[in-house]
Symmetry: C2
Subunit: 390 residues, 2 copies
């Protein structure tokens, strides 16, 4: 046979849109020898994971579990379990992930109604209000933190509008969960999903999800089967419930890691953790601004865990990112969609959200940008960042 | 907050239908710090993984990748990418996994045609031949090793029939891959998927899959979008191809583990590995038979990696399995469907497939069964097993 050499990886500093760096305790948990997916020891882990996840989501919803796939499988599970052919779905689109939800709505055979806002701007609650006067959707869906633009969407008012209208409120918190307050019950969210590889600082591979009682009722009232067998909550809830009936083999090692990541998050404390994200984000944003760079997300609504910053004219996106990776072992995210080649996406998520990472990135960018012919005032960016910590 | 104690797990001997025990090198690989899913280092791992996976599947198919979900997501990906509403699918059903395929066919809006065989029996090629004279399916699907019954299905003749008929041959090798010869190209298989947690001895969470050129052509000729966004190969193939365009965040740590598991498999050598499964399986089966127990799978077609054995009258399924777990740290599988409460499923898969595990199980069963009032001739089972090794 061909000889296959073991792979080598570098110890990257992950400051892109995810994955973020993973705590050594989570990595160790991944390496725990396996037990079976129906082993009483594993069932105990499942129960404990659900309790911790409810605390993180801010919900008492019984059906609060990790879906056995990455964040996008959570998006699909959220939509395809409640939508049936012919249903209307109102999707708020101001970035890649709203577009993705729209795509999935069509694949479910549901009728898509869109509210569009420009990239980098929030969806104004008035527009949701106006739209709800024109249609009768089963679901209204919105992204909490748009990873493609760096916006953090306010949820309170929209949650109330949707509830008054009798629709289900579906929120994507892939990027925000564990980095900013989500509050599922408080915001009247009926369906909420996330991913593990962003502010949870767990490897990618699971999609935490929660369905409230109104969503569950809609699922149980379905006339047709959920089109995805793998993501069908009417079956999956029996494995997570008292039946414990086999549906598919749970991803055991990922479940170990997720359990440990949740323990680390709750031990830090949710408010402390959100404040940490705010603090380092403020320093980063001050530093980037002092460097003369433009922050692309609407002021007042910038996400703490993901900052989009404009690439100055004449600076080559790929050259800078390659040098950051090769010379600093530092991964930055490129722009997606409308922002492709025009923006970088800087993540400060979970374990990656540290003061040292802020300073390293600012100092590296300062050097690489000035070598690319962009004029920077030496040290201004670091000073501005440092000031925010005083 | 509530205090969440770290979970404790026991060092189980996994002899159920999967997960199987995982090699320490694979566990260590899981604990490798993460790189990004578009990092050149990760792309190199993806390329190498594809090469190794092609060797294991016995194929030159370009689109040979791990799907980001457990084995059942592979089943869904296999079916939903080629089936469109109105297509006919001929599904061979002789256990749980044929039933599951039938269920998915319906969810794809395709027309289901079934060939049924009794649990524990193979699907006779003549019946496939006869069925093909009555219908014109786009896909003919069959399970290679039925985990619910312990059958290993011959593929050669059916593969030829399906090809002559112009249909796509879809084979489930969740349980067989890396434990018995699959030979995708040799058997004219167009679509083949597996799981990682059985004979590959990697944690559950990925579904290796391969699509041949005829399957790809069918996918590219589709008139409708694939109903699952998450499993849509028209998009996923661009991430695995030269484009490297982002679809969903790859499960990095699982990819590390899978890569290492493949390296271990190919280093052992495929023929050596299959022979090992045959050897220990023969010992196990001889031992169980000498204990007076009945093997439920059709003689001549018994799978090496999974043995179904009848539970004697008067013996309580759950009591024995609980005692095996508590007193021996040993997990055995219970029966599914028709075999629920009537059979045990003994897995000898990958790392779990060892001589010591065979002897431990036989000796434990001998003790527990005789304590349950079932008459066994002391030592007969171990002698019979030992003889097969001479």
């Amino acid at each position: 046979m061909t000889s296959y050499e073991p792979v080598q990886t570098s110890n990257r500093i992950l400051m892109g849109p995810g994955p973020s760096n993973v705590h050594p305790r989570v990595l160790t948990a991944m390496a725990t020898p396996l037990v079976g997916h129906l082993d009483p020891e594993f069932l105990a882990i499942m129960d404990q994971t659900q309790e911790m996840l409810r605390e993180l989501f801010g919900t008492t919803n019984r059906l609060t579990i990790p879906v056995s796939g990455t964040g996008s499988s959570g998006m699909e599970a959220a939509l395809c379990n409640v939508l049936e052919p012919g249903d209307e779905a109102l999707i708020c689109v101001n970035g890649v992930f709203g577009e993705r939800m729209s795509d999935i709505v069509g694949r479910c055979g549901a009728e898509l109604i869109r509210i569009d806002a420009p990239w980098g701007r929030i969806i104004p609650p008035e527009e949701v209000k106006a739209a709800l006067q024109q249609c009768n959707p089963k679901v209204v869906a919105i992204v909490h933190a748009e990873t493609s633009t760096g916006i953090l969407q306010p949820l309170t008012e929209i949650g109330q509008l949707v509830r008054e209208h009798g629709a289900l409120f579906l929120v994507d918190t892939v990027t925000s969960l564990a980095g900013a307050h989500v509050g599922v019950d408080e915001h009247l969210i009926d369906i909420c999903y996330s991913g593990t590889q962003k502010c949870l600082s767990c490897p990618p591979g699971l999609a935490p999800i929660t369905f409230g009682p109104r969503a569950l009722e809609a699922i149980h009232r379905r006339k047709t089967k959920v089109q995805s067998w793998y993501l069908d909550m009417t079956m999956i809830e029996r494995y997570w419930g008292e039946d414990r009936s086999y549906h598919h083999t749970a991803p055991i090692s990922m479940a170990y890691a997720f359990n440990e990541a949740l323990r680390i998050i709750l031990t830090e404390g949710l408010e402390t953790r959100y404040a940490r994200h705010e603090r380092h984000s403020a320093a980063l944003k001050a530093g980037l601004t002092a460097m003369g760079l433009e922050l692309l997300a609407q002021e007042g609504y910038r996400a703490p865990m993901l900052t989009t910053v404009g690439i100055p004219d004449g600076v080559e996106d790929l050259v800078i990112r390659r040098r950051l990776l090769q010379e600093y072992n530092l991964e930055l995210g490129g722009g997606l969609g409308d922002f492709k080649g025009k923006a970088w996406r800087v993540g400060l998520m979970g374990e990656s959200c540290t003061q040292s990472n802020v300073f390293l990135l600012l100092s590296a960018l300062e050097k690489l940008l000035s070598e690319s012919g962009y004029t920077v005032q030496p040290g201004a960016s670091l000073s501005a960042a440092a000031e925010t910590y005083l």
